[in-house]
Amino acid sequence: MRLYGVDIGSRLLLGTAQYPSPAILGDAVEASRAEIVTVSLRREAGGDQHGQAFWTLIRDMGVRVLPNTAGCHTVKEAVTTAQMAREVFDTNWIKLEVIGDNDTLCPNVFELVEAARVLSEDGFEVFPYTTEDLVVAEHLLQAGCKVLMPWGAPIGTGLGLNNVYGLRTMRAHFSDVPMIIDAGIGLPSHAAHAMELGFDAVLLNTAVARAGNPVAMAQAFAQAIEAGSMARSADPMEARDMASPSTPVLGKASLG
């Protein structure tokens, strides 16, 4: 998989929030074999070292970071947050979230497209958290995005792929654009399904961090994503409504 000119071996991108401890986060990232982890920025009081400790932990993992603009609701907020993240994390990559509704955390796609344009013109490489809407996707590409990240379901719900038809259509319509399913994944089977549909990767956080055993779940996701990806490459059969015997009928004994 190639994202903004960078070859990435793993098709799982992992969030770093909500783990029971920093040690479990580290073990989960290792078990997931993720090469990209998402990170964020928050207020820190003078003298506190929480941010520095977290940064040291992430840096020692040897993974690439994808900072987000989580919690931003306007172009202005998202752009300023992205500029701050670029300096702190020393990367042009930004996972662009511009939230439009607090119950569903649905993106505000109008602000999203404008923020993507402003950031792309400023040299950012934007990973937009978007819906499966094809027109929005087209506008994001025109704004300069070279990767799209449609949601599976609202963030943190674990509902899986809510609109399989919409996602399949999006995959077919933009067949050459790297696309990552971002948010809503609850189970390894959801991730495998996303890969079987032809998506390039899956980004998830809560499903691993909130599992009873995050490290085992990280490994389960890694295996499911690998299986789904292999299945896609193996060209799955077409589904059909009527049964068809798999055992040859020819030569069947007449015993009635």
Binding site: G15, T16, A17, Q18, Y19, L25, T38, V39, S40, L41, R42, R43, E44, A45, G46, G47, D48, Q49, H50, G51, Q52, F54, W55, I58, P67, N68, A70, K76, T80, Q83, M84, A85, E87, V88, F89, I155, G156, N205, T206
Partner: protein, 65 residues
């Protein structure tokens, strides 16, 4: 003078942003700054003046999804 640091009203004597960060205990911390909603790069802190009532945001790396 009083400025709003991360939503909290604080008294600082420094009039430049980099000096205020030192005064507030950030030292060499890996942080990014925004003044009144505008990003201020690290390289511009020494030449950025603070005024009474300014809103300063100081952000550090944090876990994220």
């Amino acid at each position: 003078m009083k400025i709003i640091v991360n939503g909290q009203s604080l008294e600082v004597t420094a009039t430049l942003l980099d000096a205020a960060l030192g005064e507030l205990g950030y030292g060499e911390a890996r942080v990014a700054t925004a003044l009144n909603g505008e990003f201020v790069p690290g390289s511009a802190r020494a030449s950025t003046n603070l005024g009474d009532g300014d809103r300063l945001e100081i952000l550090a790396p944090m876990q994220g999804g």
